[in-house]
Subunit: 207 residues, 4 copies
């Protein structure tokens, strides 16, 4: 994830341990200080690394935090519970539990905010964080269509639009619940959300 060495050939190679130490230190500092009080000098000191070493690998705070937060999403897995609703509930709960960690809360929205003015940063976020999540949506939808729980969509454009829509609805709702409304996305909420997502508002609650 960090910048590569320029030529790649001669000279002393970059320490691989430093990368890991820096990312861990970044998450630690996010927890303790939050995004706005996090300084690269402090991160370097926590990692036992010189500032220059950090700047050689990342071009700034934004890029560093994206990489540090992205690793949190590595643990996302699509469960296979046998029915679509349970699968959705499972993955949404995982997502919510990641967003519940302070290093994610502090960092994620901040880099998204910065990305509104920095296309390279937006692309980095997309590659590091968003695409992984979208893959889960794709996989879940395919599995549900195979089971007959969702209607098939033969038109690939239409299918892509639907995946994007589902992704924005799911991720957006969880993020908004967690960070804006600042309420826990707990099991009860996830159950309600899944019902609306699958059946819509106009259906009766299934007591």
């Amino acid at each position: 994830m960090p910048n590569r060495s320029p030529a790649g050939r001669s000279g002393r190679p970059r320490s691989a341990a430093a990368d890991a130490a820096i990312l861990a230190a970044t998450r630690e500092a996010l927890v303790e200080l939050g995004w706005s009080k996090l300084t690269l000098g402090d991160v370097a000191a926590r990692a036992g690394v010189a500032k220059t070493t950090l700047y050689r690998r990342w071009s700034g705070k934004n890029e560093l935090v994206v990489d540090a937060v992205a690793e949190l999403f590595d643990e996302l897995r699509l469960p296979d519970c046998g029915c679509l609703a349970a699968d959705i509930e499972g993955v949404v709960l995982q997502f919510a539990s990641i967003l519940d960690r302070p290093e994610a809360r502090s960092g994620l929205m901040a880099v998204v905010a910065e990305s509104t003015r920095d296309p390279a940063l937006r692309e980095r976020i997309r590659r590091s964080i968003v695409e992984r999540q979208k893959g889960l949506v794709l996989e879940g939808r395919a599995r549900a269509q195979a089971r007959g729980e969702l209607p098939p969509q033969p038109d690939p454009d239409e299918a892509a639009r639907t995946v994007d829509l589902i992704f924005d609805v799911v991720a957006g709702a969880v993020v908004h619940r967690t960070l804006v409304s600042a309420e826990p996305a707990d099991e009860a909420w996830v159950r309600g959300f899944t019902r609306v997502l699958l059946s819509g508002l106009t259906s009766r609650p299934a007591e």
Copy 2:
């Protein structure tokens, strides 16, 4: 929105024009510089005001930006198109068009990010921005229930939970579409979103 004068009695009264000039300058600076490069000294200079004057009225960058951005949401109105779907589409489009403005894009997510570590700021955002939007949801739901488009919910706790859920789904989806996916929330997307919201994923598209 800014802090009130302490005693309120004698001496020269505060310039009312200064408040407006400062908020306008803040939005201008947000457009040009974005959140992270915006400085209060710069805002004061744009507004033709001393830094002291600014700090007397707002306690910091976060509070100032919340107030500056909140004014953008004053124009949100619930249309009355006669049917729930059209009402939703109308208000979502309005919301999307506000989020399309650079002063909102840069500022909104940034203050939300900051608010994860600052309860007072979160409360300010809730009062200035979120409650107004939630009011629209409440009003629209009531109207739809009167029309019979939505099932009634006699239990007030259950009703409040539903309003919160709808709000998180609608606002979250639009924000995610606009800022994270960085795609326009245009009419086509809004129509698809409204269909899912009302009918759920399991229903067949209404070709």
Copy 3:
């Protein structure tokens, strides 16, 4: 000596105490650390002053040290012992005792070295340090000519050249003895030097 305030009008005036504290701290640091290890951050800390305050007044290390060292030469006075030789011996001893102080030893040659590439610095040294010393030469020569100890020089150009020459010989010899040869310019040495200066090498020693 430090830079003046730009407009000179409104706003908080610069602290006069800060100037004195900074110059004193500079001399202290010169004694402890020497020129090359002296840092402006350290000087600011010793003076109980922010780095910005220091940089607002001086444009860099060179200018600051010139001013700090220049104050040491304020105490130079031309004695009036009744005869030229004694007057010269007196003033040279004073000069030597200043050059014996570590804050002068460390700083003076360093700024002279820097001034070889910086005309503005050279001019600052001339105004702050050199002219004062040259004034003593002028005064002493006039007094000696009045006493008949030195031949009169009616041609003003020739007179100016002679003053410059004397100045370079006296100051150069003391500086070279003190800093390059690193031997003390004590009374015995000063006596020998004065004899050569007045009578030349070809004369016999006056035992």
Copy 4:
């Protein structure tokens, strides 16, 4: 002049060409950048040599510059013009012409300044630069005494003191004229200086 190889036995021998290239690069950098902006990394790059190679041979900037500047003084020769005044004028003009070269102006005073806090450096300067010049004074004085132009000094201590004094006066005056007064030590000045040195201030000018 550079450090010797440690053991001296087997393994690849040090490149002799590198020494010369480094010293030449040092003088080049002194001319272009001056002492304070000269960096060892830059010198190494100019010499086409790795920083390691440079540090293996010299322990720091001071030592390197002393050696680089010392080579400039190799060309100093005592002329034999038949009379003391002409000999002095000749050697002083040579000295002045060396001090007129930018690589000497920038470097010489700087290392002298550093040497006030570094006895090892002072000793290196003495061995590399000062002793050579003092030898010329010794030689010239012996020649002048043989010719009867200077009085003999049978006491060796007294003789040594006189040599030191002459050396400080001559070298100090030229250095001060060149670097502090920043005026050229041209023929006219040298003639005036020599007259004062030999005959003293109290003698009448020999029109």
